[in-house]
């Protein structure tokens, strides 16, 4: 067995079929870049969830007519509660100050809210944020309590929007990936057709199927690897253009975790894309040839 023959087959195959090869490499690159974005988004959403859920609080808003005795009683009860990790009291003044700070860009809103319009509250951090319902039930009917709000619910909405974007990215990635699989199959068919004479002679002199098929499978794998490399390049370019460029302000606040080179090149994105590309092209080529280059 000569590696020489196999390798020369790969390069001539790719060159002879240049337009198809380019189309195949580009669709592979685009689908993988989309898939990679989906993967990065997924990773970041998980990071964000961890970040926020660690910080979220349960707010127990107090009634306007709460008495000092009720307030003290509630505080004592919360301090004794095994569910509670930490406790902070926020007065009406503090609430107003925080409100002003949060909406400093919307003066109209601030002007419409009176200094004492915002309720005082206990900000409770739970040992286990998942036990929110238990805590809520316990305090919602306590004397002087107006309502209990879990910030997790608000975040949940945000995450479901991000999740939606992520799903769309993955769906598009899969659709384009199907297109690229079909293109790979077609390119391999054309390549096999171009070399039908050689294949016919190989079969005639008793070459094994894998000897006949290997150059085509390698050809597809090389094209797939180039596609994956391009996809990784696109992701890196996207990071430079958006994360470090136009949208830098969004990320610099630290609320949305930024995307680093390590995230893209790390084990769960770049190598995974490369693996998917190579395995998928090899499998597609092999399956196509099983139908097309029958011994």
């Amino acid at each position: 067995m000569r590696a020489n023959y196999v390798l020369s087959g790969v390069t001539t195959g790719l060159r002879r079929n240049i337009t198809m090869t380019v189309a195949m490499v580009l669709t592979t690159a685009i689908s993988l870049a989309l898939l990679g974005s989906g993967l990065l988004l997924f990773q970041k959403v998980n990071d964000m969830k961890e970040y926020f859920y660690f910080r979220v609080e349960v707010s127990i808003f107090l009634k306007k007519d709460i008495t000092q005795q009720q307030r003290d009683g509630l505080r004592a009860e919360l301090e004794r509660d095994p569910l509670v990790q930490s406790l902070k009291y926020e007065s009406k003044d503090e609430a107003y100050r925080r409100f002003r700070e949060q909406f400093k860009d919307s003066p109209d809103l601030i002007n419409n809210v009176r200094t004492n319009a915002l309720p005082e509250s206990f900000r409770v951090k739970l040992k286990d944020p998942a036990k929110y319902t238990l805590a809520a039930e316990k305090y919602v009917n306590a004397e002087g309590v107006d309502q209990v709000v879990d910030q997790r619910k608000i975040l949940g909405k945000l995450f479901s929007i991000i999740g939606g974007i992520q799903t769309i990215a993955v769906v598009i990635a899969v659709v384009v990936l199907i297109a690229s699989v079909l293109l790979i199959g077609n390119t391999i068919q054309v390549a096999a057709f171009n070399r039908r004479r050689e294949i016919e002679i190989m079969k005639l002199v008793g070459a094994s199927s894998w000897y006949v098929q290997l150059p085509f499978v390698l050809e597809a794998m090389v094209a797939g690897a180039i596609g994956a490399a391009l996809a990784i390049g696109l992701l890196l370019a996207g990071k430079v253009a958006f994360v470090d460029g136009k949208l830098a302000a969004l990320f610099s606040s630290g609320v949305i975790p930024t995307i680093s080179y390590g995230d893209i090149l790390g084990p769960s994105v770049a190598p995974l894309l490369l693996l998917i590309a190579v395995v998928l092209s090899a499998a597609t080529a092999w399956v196509t040839l099983r139908f097309y280059v029958r011994v």
Binding site: E200, I201, K203, V205, A207, S208, Y211, V295
Partner: protein, 239 residues
């Protein structure tokens, strides 16, 4: 690689067809119709008949390019029906083939074309370097090893094809109209070569409708007509 099965002994059938019928989907008339024939080791057999009489189908069936519709075929002691698809290459290594259109690789030299047959079955480069010149010498192409096929005459190209078919020392050589594209003088040279190959013990099966050649060789003749064997004669003529 496994050695050839014990069918490679000096006598006994190399090819055996038992009531073989081949029907192509597109046609109502069978290409081969209830054909029974045995070719022994070392024989030289002409399969004659007009175009469409079933000669080429016969060769395709022997190579297991397709299965028969009915009947049993064995080549070199292998029952083709029982031969799994991944063992088909091994069958083909024991069969050498030449065709009317030579089927050479136009972008490879004479030596590379012949060596290709050894290369694809995994022979070492050192073996190829040794064996190819010997075979080129045998077919009378010594000195033309580095020519390209298009630089050669038709007769020379068919010699290259014969060298490629024979380089692997097959048990059987199948020749499908090997002189079909050649002038009479060149045809005679090719026939001499086939005869020489036959004398090394290789069974030769040749499909042809060249009456002159058949008559001059006086070998066994099997005549096909509309897929049926109508004559099987030792030392026959085209008739």
């Amino acid at each position: 690689m496994r050695p050839h099965p014990p069918a490679a002994v000096d006598s006994g059938p190399v090819i055996r067809l038992d009531r073989v019928t081949k029907l192509y989907k597109a046609s109502t008339r069978p290409a081969l119709d209830d054909v029974t024939v045995v070719v022994d080791k070392g024989e030289f057999v002409f399969f004659i008949g007009a175009s469409g009489s079933g000669k080429s189908t016969f060769i395709r069936l022997l190579l297991k390019e397709e299965p028969p519709t009915r009947g049993q075929i064995s080549v070199a002691g292998r029952d083709l029906a029982k031969l799994s698809r991944w063992k088909v290459p091994q069958l083909r290594r024991s069969i050498g083939c030449v065709f009317q259109d030579f089927r050479l690789l136009t972008n490879k030299t004479v030596a590379e074309n012949v060596g290709f047959a050894l290369e694809v079955i995994g022979k070492q480069q050192s073996t190829i370097k040794k064996v190819v010149p010997e075979v080129l010498d045998l077919v009378g192409l010594d000195g033309k090893a580095n020519r390209m096929p298009h630089e050669l005459s038709g007769g020379e190209q068919q010699r290259v094809a014969l060298a490629r078919a024979f380089v692997n020392r097959p048990l059987v050589l199948l020749a499908d109209e090997p002189t079909g594209n050649l002038d009479p003088d060149t045809s005679i040279e090719i026939m001499r070569l086939l005869d020489r190959i036959n004398r090394t013990g290789t069974t030769v099966v040749m499909a042809t409708h060249d009456a002159t050649i058949v008559n001059s060789m006086r070998r066994r003749v099997v005549e096909l007509d509309n897929g049926r064997i109508v004559r099987d004669q030792a030392r026959g003529i085209y008739g």
